[in-house]
Point group: C2
Chain length 326, copies 2
């Protein structure tokens, strides 16, 4: 029985392939749309077959792969960091927005509008080299807990989406993140949390400079936004970085509308997915009128463009990985 292991492998491997790749998804239209799509594009000789090189899937991050309430988690980091900076040097809190952030006064900060928020983000994300910045993000993720759930932010990722990412990769897809979040911020946890390596994380970028300090080269994060990876910016970033049109796109807000439109308007079979936050009990419920992750026009377009709307409450057996263990 020298080759017994071989027979075992031959018996077990097809069994694994037949097991449900999406156990946290309830049977229904969303799950069917996903499985049908993946089977169609991977069926060698089928009408919808795509080579592995063409199997590009792109996903928004905030509200699509992890939660985004009560505010984008990166914004919460920025506020905490400005507060920390202001402790060391109170003079940085020189505007209403920075003063509010330094005091941890979120309502006052929101009252300063988008301009104020961008100012806080700029200060929190500049004057530091990339490696030192990412060490600060890693420490913050480790030490900070979400006020509602009591969990670390990077544990508040969606179990069904983790299964979807794995299922796609097991089916020969490359899975990219294409998010309005900062690329340096997301890379700190994307590989561990999602299995997405640094070069498959696309995000907003700040200005940067290359400097040699004491003989050691560093990439410094500078004030100012170089590229905002949101709305029309998403297909533009996909074109610049990936250079191929994806065949699957997933998002949850009007900021993802153009990415889904760009993806699903291509020739051949395509899949657009919209995560609809319908679960006030296990997560949050919000859409057309939310100040974060507003889902309005994209929800209207979903029907005409045949995108699958994922009803979080109805379609997902569990929301977070830690719910599985409980």
């Amino acid at each position: 029985m020298k080759y017994l292991w071989l027979y075992i492998v031959l018996l077990v491997v097809p069994g694994l392939a037949l097991a449900d790749p999406l156990p946290s998804w309830r049977d229904g239209a969303s799950k069917t749309a996903i499985v049908d799509f993946v089977e169609a594009v991977t069926e060698v000789g089928g009408a919808d077959y795509r080579t592995p090189g063409e199997r590009i899937a792109v996903f928004d991050n905030d509200g699509t792969l992890w939660s985004e309430q009560p505010a984008y988690f990166q914004l919460l980091f920025a506020v905490d960091r400005v507060a920390e900076m202001a402790k060391a040097d109170a003079s940085i809190a020189k505007s209403p927005a920075l003063k509010a952030a330094a005091a941890g006064d979120f309502p006052a900060l929101l009252a300063t509008g988008v301009k104020g928020l961008l100012e806080v983000v700029a200060v929190a994300h500049s004057g530091i080299d990339v490696a030192a910045y990412q060490a600060k993000v890693a420490l913050w993720l480790e030490e900070t807990r979400h006020k509602k759930t009591g969990k670390r932010y990077h544990k508040m990722v969606y179990q069904p989406m983790l299964e979807l990412l794995s299922y796609l990769r097991d089916s020969g897809f490359k899975t990219y993140i294409v998010s309005g979040g900062g690329v340096h911020f997301m890379r700190v946890f994307a590989e561990e949390a999602y299995g997405v390596p640094p070069e498959q994380v696309i995000g907003s970028t700040g200005e940067a400079s290359y400097k040699v300090i004491d003989g050691k080269p560093v990439i410094m994060k500078e004030p100012g936004i170089a590229f905002l990876d949101d709305k029309q910016g998403k297909p533009i970033a996909i074109d610049r970085v990936i250079g191929l049109r994806p065949i699957l796109a997933g998002g949850n807000s009007d900021g993802d509308l153009h990415m889904l439109q760009w993806t699903t308007a291509g020739e051949g079979r395509r899949l657009g997915l919209l995560v609809h936050h319908t679960d006030a009990e296990r997560e949050w419920a919000y859409d057309r009128k939310s100040h974060i992750g507003k889902l309005d026009k994209a929800l209207d377009m979903a029907k005409a463009d045949n995108w699958s709307v994922i009803d979080m409450k109805a379609d997902w057996r569990v929301v977070f990985p830690y719910d599985l263990a409980e």
Copy 2:
């Protein structure tokens, strides 16, 4: 003899591995430096071992992977395209630089300086969507011949560098292009010529817009440079797109200096390669005083920073793939 195939595989595979992966390279310091480096970082358990995820190699394109004389090939394309555009609409030739390009008068164009050249590049690379632009580049590459060699431009790639790219990929590396050339331009031929897929081509980018024309979304190329991937821009682009510091960098000019510095200043074993154009007979000979691909400061730094300088004339048995067949 049911398992004969297995023994054949076991016998043949190590034989393939032992064959010279760089047959177009003459024995010498450059080849030794490359082979020693690759063996060191791939030796499991060795002091210099790197995981496949860390095996990132970046290469400049113009003058490093293909020729760049008498001028960057993309500039020659831009001049031809402006001439074509001016035939259809003479009013576009409204500046001395555009007039010179429209007339195919290269000396007059060069006399307009960098500003004039950028103007020609901007006009040639805008007002068209990405897919239509790339179709034009593909046609131009097919139809145009280099004045000195009589060959198609994308056939004027360096055989020894093709072998190096393959050797690295066979050794678990990801091979990236990081070039001052336009990302849309290079992607037209990079996969066929170098085996480098679209998402591993990093280059300069122009402004772009996302538009829906007659219900069909397109990415339009707009005037203006969004990012110049040269000098300090190269490590910045590597950080933004790849998010990891490469362990091998290859270039040929002062424009690559910062990329080589950034790569080789990292911890652990690193390799910097500089292609030195020393072969006036088979290719071109130029360095410190060249108007294209000036190699001056980087040549001085090579010794101190322990970069390998590749002497094209001495180190390469053949330069171009078509020399092999002749």
